[in-house]
């Protein structure tokens, strides 16, 4: 088994879950209605929990403990896509991101249930079950708000236009793409992207929203190689503010 390829795959997924979980948790207390506040908080818990489980797989492969990995690295050492680190902005952007990202996650972990690396395949089954609720939630809201008022439609369309290049950044190919496919660890970003586009388009077709032309959109790549927007480092500084007071202390 190609351990370097596997680790790279695990790191980018774990980092994605951690950073978006963190962003989702920022909605606690600020949701547009109590029920949404609670829903984003639930998804935040799932995502941070999923990142923890993925970091544990890495730990079993010889990497440092989850707390150390999550709370002491700096932005260039993170492999998440830039999409997840962008600020929440208004609920429109957060909802569109949730829809686009979690649809990709649902497909990704569905594919990973077939991984030849058994611990990952097992974990993927569990995560896939949790993600079912995330996509159910996202699809319900996109259907409702995507064909409700003039304001809700124009807000979501603007958010979709802004988010789309970043969403395509999710599928930035790994340097190990061929090995991952060859060793049947993961069927690859290209296959994932195709299935994702189909699902996203199916939902959007039920609304007044339109997906920007994928052939005319340049994906925002870089995150997988540690190139991030100016938003990630401040997020990490905040996340580790207490932990760094004394990283050897137990909290």
């Amino acid at each position: 088994m190609n351990t370097a390829a596997l680790k790279e795959l695990l790191y980018k997924m774990a980092d994605d879950q951690l950073i978006l979980g963190h962003r989702n948790s920022e909605w606690t207390g600020f949701g547009p209605l109590l029920e949404e506040d609670i829903a984003f908080s639930s998804m935040a818990q799932d995502k941070v929990g999923q990142s923890y489980a993925l970091y544990q797989l890495l730990h079993a492969l010889g990497e440092q403990a989850p707390d150390t990995v999550a709370f002491t690295r700096n932005a260039p050492q993170f492999h998440n896509c830039q999409f997840v680190e962008l600020p929440n902005e208004e609920y429109d952007f957060s909802l569109i991101r949730h829809f686009l990202f979690d649809t990709a996650e649902a497909v990704r972990f569905d594919m990973l249930t077939q991984s030849r690396y058994e611990p990952l395949a097992q974990l993927a089954k569990k995560i896939r079950g949790e993600l079912r609720y995330h996509t159910l939630h996202a699809n319900t809201w996109i259907r409702q708000l995507g064909s409700a008022t003039e304001e809700s439609i124009s807000r979501l369309q603007a958010a979709l236009d802004k988010a789309f290049p970043f969403a395509l950044g999710i599928f930035e190919p790994s340097p190990f793409e061929d090995q991952l496919i060859e060793e049947q660890l993961f069927a690859g970003e290209q296959a994932l992207r195709l299935r994702w586009l189909e699902r996203v388009q199916t939902i959007l077709a039920e609304t007044s929203l339109h997906l920007p032309d994928v052939t005319l959109t340049t994906p925002e790549f870089g995150g997988r190689n540690g190139h991030h927007t100016e938003h990630l480092q401040p997020l990490l500084d905040e996340m580790s503010a207490v932990f760094r007071i004394d990283p050897t202390a137990e909290w």
Partner: protein
């Protein structure tokens, strides 16, 4: 959490004059027998008014209380704390949802309650007008403010209004986990490094006075609540609840080696009651009337959240989204 220190108004002698004496007597007899009053049952207007006021204050306290702790979710040290704190604060917002629903059964819509919160007409637990400066402050809230709330809520769960009691039963079950979480966090600070210990001692110094205020003004200066106690709206006096809290938690704080900033605090073994320096009730009144360190910030955050979310709520009410009851 956060049910403590409800502020009741003095009841005017005239408020029961318009009630039918027969219905009133039957209502009181039901309460005496320990029956629960349900939404469609007859109740005096005053009972309805005071209950709405109390449940609404409780609900507001939950969402405002989510703010000082919520701000530490993004900074919680380590996975274990981060996940637990997220779940805890989410519970609190869930409690608000339950409580607004309980209050709605008495006829006041949630939107109106939230409007009254934002425009300053309704109150919430005074303690959340103080800032959570450090991680240890958030631990103080999770442990001791929740502990205080449990004292209050366990009493209220035995009250007379069915929907509120049922909400409280569920809330108390969740709160007991919060208490464990908070206590666990404080034990780690108490047994940790010098920095960690000092951090909690400072939090204790900051939060002790608001904690003593939490249960409301002492009985000899608080509003007359005999009628509300007879109707099982208010279940224990402020001083009794404060005493119960001190009885349960002062020994635990001392056990961890911290100093409570009140040289006069001691249990009088003869009376079985705690003695303490009388809290500064003028400060309490000043803060509850809007002049505390965080009143403006708390309401501003709530107002912004409401304004930013308006388009979402409007879209949900648009014609396309009208809920149609399924035929089968």
């Amino acid at each position: 959490m956060y049910g403590g220190g409800t502020i009741f108004e003095n009841i005017k002698g005239t408020e029961l004059e318009n009630e039918d004496p027969g219905q009133l007597a039957a209502f009181e007899a039901r309460i005496d027998r320990g029956e629960k009053i349900e939404p469609r049952d007859w109740m005096p207007a005053l009972y309805r008014k005071q209950l709405i006021r109390m449940i609404e204050q409780h609900a507001h306290s939950e969402i405002i209380g989510a703010l000082p702790e919520g701000t530490w979710i993004t900074r919680a040290p380590g996975f274990k704390r981060k996940m637990a704190l997220m779940a805890k604060v989410q519970d609190e917002v869930g409690h608000a949802q339950l409580l607004y629903s309980a209050a709605e059964t008495l006829g006041k819509p949630r939107e109106q309650m939230i409007d009254d919160l934002i425009n300053g007409k309704s109150k919430y637990s005074n303690i959340f007008n103080y800032p959570a400066f450090t991680w240890a402050d958030s631990c103080f809230i999770s442990w001791l403010v929740d502990a205080g709330a449990i004292v209050n809520q366990l009493a209220n769960a035995k009250g007379s209004y069915g929907p509120y009691c049922r909400a409280l039963d569920r809330i108390c079950a969740e709160e007991s986990f919060h208490l464990k979480y908070g206590h666990h966090c404080v034990i780690y600070l108490a047994t940790g490094t010098a920095i960690q210990r000092a951090m909690f001692q400072e939090a204790l110094d900051r939060w002790w006075a608001p904690m003593m205020h939490f249960f409301g003004p002492s009985d000899n200066i608080s509003a007359h609540t005999e009628t509300l106690m007879r109707w099982k709206v208010k279940m224990a006096t402020n001083d009794d609840m404060r005493n119960q809290f001190l009885d349960m938690y002062v020994p635990k704080i001392w056990e961890l080696g911290f100093t409570i900033p009140d040289p006069n605090l001691r249990k009088n073994e003869t009376t079985g009651r705690w003695e303490y320096t009388e809290p500064d009730w003028d400060e309490f009144k000043r803060v509850i009337n809007g002049d505390g360190p965080c009143n403006k910030e708390r309401l501003a955050v709530r107002r912004i959240a409401e304004e930013r979310g308006r388009w979402v709520r409007e879209a949900l009410q648009s014609k396309q989204n009208v809920y149609v009851t399924p035929l089968a």
